[in-house]
Symmetry: C2
Subunit: 219 residues, 2 copies
């Protein structure tokens, strides 16, 4: 075998042994299983099976079930914050920027339903896994400062009301979108509607944008 073919096999050819690929398969499978059944309900055997990996690998790379959960969760938080970063809030008029933010949050939850149940699991165990994550702290701070800057700009341009706290606003934006999805099953029983029909989704996002605009904007 010529040496260049050997070299290629490192990066291009489908390798039989590929640590990174295996790790990723495990993480993807874990995300599915944890979000579907919760932290306690998730089965490591099921994760290993779905990842087409051996259970031993899972413990080799992530130490424990909780270690695996921690990694999954941190990746998910990083992912949403990264996507948020790409939002062009600074170059839009304040009101449009605000609406963009609300709509992004909404659509992110639709595209990533796992995120919500993972966060729920983490709160059930009182955030033990992320409590001491400096990375998470840093990206979160950045995000809040960005929203505060948007609020300040809106006030300067005389379109936003004064004295709104960025953290409170963030919590409210998250809540009206998050709650709708996480409680859609009990909601379907109580309100006797299909929460996921296109019409229902349309109605809700419209309502949510209205809610936030009336809260933040003048008039």
């Amino acid at each position: 075998m010529p040496p260049e073919k050997k070299r290629m096999s490192i990066s291009v050819k489908t390798r039989v042994r590929d640590a990174e690929a295996t790790k990723l398969r495990i993480l993807e499978a874990a995300k599915k299983e944890f979000s579907k059944n919760g932290l306690e309900g998730a089965r490591v055997d099921a994760i290993a099976l779905d990842a087409k990996a051996n259970k031993r690998m899972l413990y080799h790379y992530f130490k424990s079930k909780d270690g695996l959960f921690r990694t999954v969760l941190e990746r998910e938080y990083l992912n949403i914050r990264t996507e948020e970063t790409k939002l062009d809030l600074e170059n839009l008029p304040p009101r449009a920027a605000l609406e963009t933010l609300v709509r992004f949050t909404w659509e992110y939850y639709i595209r990533n339903p796992e995120f919500i149940t993972l966060v729920n699991s983490e709160n059930l165990c009182q955030a033990v896994h992320i409590k001491n994550s400096p990375t998470l702290r840093t990206v979160s701070q950045k995000f809040i400062r960005r929203i505060q800057a948007l609020l300040d700009r809106g006030v300067r341009e005389n379109v936003f009301r004064e004295g709104i706290d960025a953290a409170q606003l963030n919590i409210t934006i998250a809540s009206i979108n998050y709650y709708y999805f996480t409680n859609r099953f009990t909601g379907a029983v109580i309100f006797e509607r299909d929460f996921t029909s296109p019409e229902a989704l349309q109605e809700r996002i419209t309502f949510n944008i209205e809610t936030i605009c009336r809260l933040v904007c003048k008039n």
Copy 2:
């Protein structure tokens, strides 16, 4: 023994065997355990122990772990709806009635933190336990109609905006209160605040009332 003493023992004396009391102790213990650890995380042995009852009793009265969870959850839903019924929304000015409703929801979650985690568990398993509960359907319908009546009255009295849907409003009121509590642990990490300090609670309920009033009221 005189017969009246025997009679008394049925209702007054501490009975060694008292089905209703045992049931109640099991239900209280189950509520604690299920809300603390989730449906999958809860241990029937722990429930029996805490209830000072035998595990056999638990299965005798509630058939299975899921049967017990169903009973606990239905009782909790009935409880919040019953308390809501006592709210004097009909005799207050519309705006005050709305504020009363928001404040009640907030305080109910503070007084009954278990409710939130129980509902989260139920949504994780896609509401299998309450899906076919006619009681729950009935009380929920009543509640929504009552809010719709309040909205209508507010419009007639020219203090509320037209065209607001009672279901959407209910979801929003629940969400801005519920989310704050259910996500207070991850929230503490992300926003670097104590979500449960008296000042934080005060700030949040004020913000939430403002949010709802600006959404519903004219001006």
